[in-house]
């Protein structure tokens, strides 16, 4: 008989080992999945995890790592505040979309002016847009006790409809021959979030993500707010006796995650994506949830996890084009990663005992 026995203290070794083990298990079961799809499992795994870094075309893929990783890290950092405090914002995807819409709309309203102020204004609008969208579940929870998981998630679908309506209506390019989608911001220097160093993939979003990592690290370890975030997640009751204000904490955590998701959306729409289009969002907001947990909600961990997830995105695209792997298989792979991580998390708090149940 196998029994789980609670550890007196969470195992530090397992805390660090679970993400690595989860990656390994994902590779193993991903391999089984790929061979069931009729692909060579070893080759597929290699294509997804190694080719972006080491193949002969790596010079093209490596910058992509930054391009894909930046929004993931930026969003995941924001989410990690809430997740630590027990505030479950699952709707970063929606905040990402609304941030992009607000940022792009601000820029487009001033088209075709040429002033250096436009891009900063767009950044501000993007952050505020994401923040406002996140405030909806935040305020509803604080005022009416609604479940922020459901509300934030459902607002993703609202945001997607809003995106489609913007791409087809208000923000549609008047010179676009009637095609859906806004003007291309990338072709308008005042609003473009271009590469800072040519060929590096480095854009303002990457800079913002790195700043967010440092900001989060310092806030969580040194600031009174970070102290409250960390501790109220551990024991809400003790936190309320200690005089933490739970409502304020919910709103601030929601605000941070919304603003960062909005920023990520803006940097994407003004940079790699270039325009508001119906299919603008590709799921960064959801993948960032995996990134946040894979990174153990720690800023540095999130940075590494963001890199890893970006790798699966790029490797997944390579596998799709070179090996004909269906796109859904990649999403499955990413989902598997979170699944194994959560499953293995049991090991940090419990140890497995084999043999007959010990007479307690």
């Amino acid at each position: 008989m196998i029994a789980l026995e609670k550890r007196p203290q969470p195992s530090r070794g397992w805390v660090l080992a679970t993400p690595i083990l989860a990656v390994v298990l994902t590779m193993v079961f991903g391999g089984i999945l790929f061979s069931a799809l009729g692909k060579n499992p070893i080759e597929t795994i290699r294509t997804i995890f190694l080719d972006p870094l080491f193949s002969e075309f790596a010079f093209y893929y490596r910058p992509q790592l930054l391009v894909k990783g930046a929004p993931l890290v930026l969003i995941a950092i924001g989410l990690s505040f809430g997740f630590r405090a027990g505030v479950w914002n699952i709707g970063a995807e929606g905040q990402y979309i609304v941030g992009a819409i607000c940022g792009a709309a601000t820029g487009l309203a001033l088209y075709p002016a040429e002033t250096r102020l436009i891009f900063p204004l767009m950044v501000l609008a993007g952050a505020l847009g994401g923040l406002a969208w996140a405030m909806i579940p935040g305020i509803l929870r604080v005022k009416f006790g609604t479940n922020e998981i459901l509300v934030s998630l459902m607002l993703v679908y609202v945001a997607e409809q809003l995106l489609a309506s913007m791409a087809l209506g208000l923000l549609r390019n008047p010179e676009g021959m009637g095609f859906p989608g806004s003007r291309n911001l990338g072709q308008w220097p005042a609003a473009a979030n271009g590469e800072l160093i040519a060929g590096s993939g480095m854009h303002w979003g990457v800079v913002a993500a790195l700043i967010a990592v440092i900001f989060a690290y310092i806030t969580l370890s040194r600031h009174i707010f970070g102290f409250q975030v960390r501790l109220s997640g551990q024991s809400p009751r003790a936190a309320s006796f200690a005089g933490f204000n739970p409502a304020r904490l919910v709103l601030i955590c929601m605000g941070i995650s919304g603003a960062l998701a909005g920023l990520a959306g803006l940097f994407e729409v003004a940079g790699p994506a270039g325009q508001i289009s119906i299919d603008f969002n590709v799921g960064y907001g959801f993948t960032a949830i995996i990134v946040a947990f894979l990174g153990r909600l720690h800023p540095v961990g999130i940075l590494l996890a963001g890199g890893l997830m970006a790798l699966t995105y790029i490797g997944g695209e390579i596998a799709q084009s070179n090996l004909g792997l269906p796109g859904a298989a990649i999403q499955l792979l990413q989902g598997m990663l979170l699944f194994f991580l959560l499953a293995l998390d049991v090991m940090t708090n419990y140890r497995v005992r084999f043999g007959s149940k010990v007479a307690a």
Partner: protein, 509 residues
């Protein structure tokens, strides 16, 4: 006649505490025997041992004269012992019948369940004991009292002759309690033996034939219900050898530290759990509040610290009205707090000790400088707490979980006292703490009052309250007796106060 149950010398140790210390209990056939004691006195542990859920470390158990050893509840059930848990273990979506047979389904050939036979048997059991429930009702459609009846039938259906009821009245409204008592009397008339765990004195006196009182893991006495009153029981439960308070160097001033006026807090069912409580604690004074668990202590403290909202009344801290002020502002205004349940309410068990020291004081020096946590300051302060209050820990980086209960309590008390509060609210300062740590904690509270702080101490330990209090009051069903000087109080007087006979208590003065 052989006793139904005879426990001799039962001892059960958990890390850091002795839950049962040489407990003796004899329950006669066909009696209703109440086990009475505060929360944490060891009643539940004793019943878990009797029901086979936990083995005793020492001691002998006899059922109907035979020595038994249970390794699981199945063994206990075989011996005719059944337990009705405080929290029902029923599946809402199933019928009464399905719930009753769940886990011991009578089968026909081919593995089919014999619902018909089971229903007949169930009706027989119900009729025999006067327990009226329709076997085909869905459990979710039943009232709480009826669900409890289903639990009792479930136990009887399995052939139990000895029933253990764990705080059965805690979930019931008064009419349901009456109904339950009627059922229990019928069960008794039909020859069942009932062990009834409770800490509500009136109920125990009403239903029980004999009462065994447990305090701090030890059996204090077994008495006939007819021979005692509520005051006597209260004394047995909380202790009675009163030390004389040492008030030779009384430092009580006439400056009010904390003034509570007409405070009322509503509980569930729209009943006040704190009922028009007024008390003033002066600087340099310790006011002790006693009371049997569940008489409004928790809610009173919650309202003072700010985590519960009073429906009426006011709270004044050093002359400033704090009734509508946040917990944070109360803390920063000089209110310190030691919660009853340090593990859940006062500590973060997985966080390092120095972060725990900052808990509740995270915005004040030396834990913070402006908006930033002062890690060095916090560590140094934690080190000071450790030395000043003799907290045994390898260093201040270990997780709080690693410390023993007594050490953690010294740490929590130290954390508040080192912050130099003007008013300190302490709930059960020495609960689960060994004698030497308890003495150190009491001395620390006395020193704090000597230094000019106002201290309000809530405790179930009368000895403790007599030792440190300048004035003494008792909570009974949410009402606070008028505080009286602790010096010269008699045991009889305190018993009356605890039992809620405030007028008689005043007359006895």
């Amino acid at each position: 006649m052989t006793a139904a149950i005879e426990l001799t010398g039962i001892t059960k140790r958990f890390p850091g505490v002795i839950a049962n210390d040489n407990v003796n209990l004899t329950v006669e056939q066909g009696e209703i025997h109440a086990i009475c004691g505060e929360n944490g006195a060891g009643k539940s542990t004793l019943m878990k041992i009797l029901y086979g859920m936990q083995p005793a470390d020492e001691g002998v158990m006899k059922v109907s004269g035979e020595v038994v050893e249970f390794s699981s509840p199945t063994d206990a059930i075989e011996r005719g012992i059944g337990m009705v848990h405080q929290h029902f273990m029923l599946a809402d979506q199933l019928t009464v019948l399905e719930n009753v047979i769940l886990g011991s389904e009578p089968t026909l050939s081919g593995g089919r369940i014999d619902f018909k036979g089971a229903e007949t048997h169930l009706r027989e059991v119900g009729a025999a004991y006067g327990l009226d429930v329709d076997p085909n009702d869905l459990v979710e459609s039943l009232e709480v009292g009826e669900q409890q009846r289903v639990e009792i039938i479930k136990v009887l259906y399995r052939g139990a002759k000895i029933l253990i009821l764990d705080e059965p009245t805690a979930v019931l409204v008064p009419q349901e309690v009456e109904e339950l008592f009627k059922n229990l009397r019928e069960l008794k008339a039909d020859g069942a033996t009932i062990i009834f765990i409770d800490h509500k004195l009136q109920e125990v006196l009403e239903i029980a034939d004999r009462i065994t009182v447990i305090r701090r893991g030890k059996t204090i006495d077994t008495v006939n219900a007819a021979d005692v009153n509520a005051g006597d029981l209260a004394e047995l439960m909380v202790g009675s050898e009163l030390p004389t308070p040492d008030t030779s160097d009384s430092t009580v001033t006439d400056v009010p530290g904390l003034v509570v006026k007409g405070l009322t807090v509503m509980g569930p069912y729209g009943r006040p759990v704190v009922d028009n409580v007024s008390v003033t604690v002066h600087k340099g004074e310790i006011v002790g509040i006693a009371g049997i668990e569940g008489n409004g202590q928790t809610e009173l403290v919650d309202a003072i610290i700010g985590t519960a909202e009073p429906t009426a009344g006011s709270i004044t801290l050093l002359g400033a009205d704090i009734t509508d002020v946040s917990v944070r502002d109360r803390r920063e205004g000089g209110l310190g707090y030691v919660p009853q349940d340090r593990h859940r309410e006062g500590l973060l068990l997985d966080a390092p000790l120095w972060e725990n020291a900052a808990l509740g004081h995270q915005t004040s020096a030396p834990y913070a400088r402006g908006m930033w946590i002062d890690r060095d300051g916090a560590r140094k302060q934690t080190q000071d707490i450790r030395e000043e209050f003799d907290v045994r820990t390898p260093n201040v980086e270990v997780a709080a979980r690693a410390l023993s209960g007594g050490n953690l309590q010294k740490f929590v008390i130290g954390r508040e006292i080192m912050q130099d509060p003007d008013v300190l609210v302490v709930n059960q300062p020495t609960w689960g703490v060994d004698a030497s740590a308890a003495a150190a904690i009491r001395q620390a509270l006395l020193d704090l009052a000597t230094g000019g702080a106002a201290v309000i101490c809530i405790s179930q330990d009368l000895d403790e309250l007599m030792e440190i209090s300048d004035r003494f009051a008792a909570l009974n069903q949410g009402q606070l007796s008028a505080p009286v000087p602790a010096q010269g109080l008699t045991v009889e007087h305190i018993g009356l106060m605890l039992g809620g006979a405030h007028d008689m208590a005043e007359a006895a003065l």
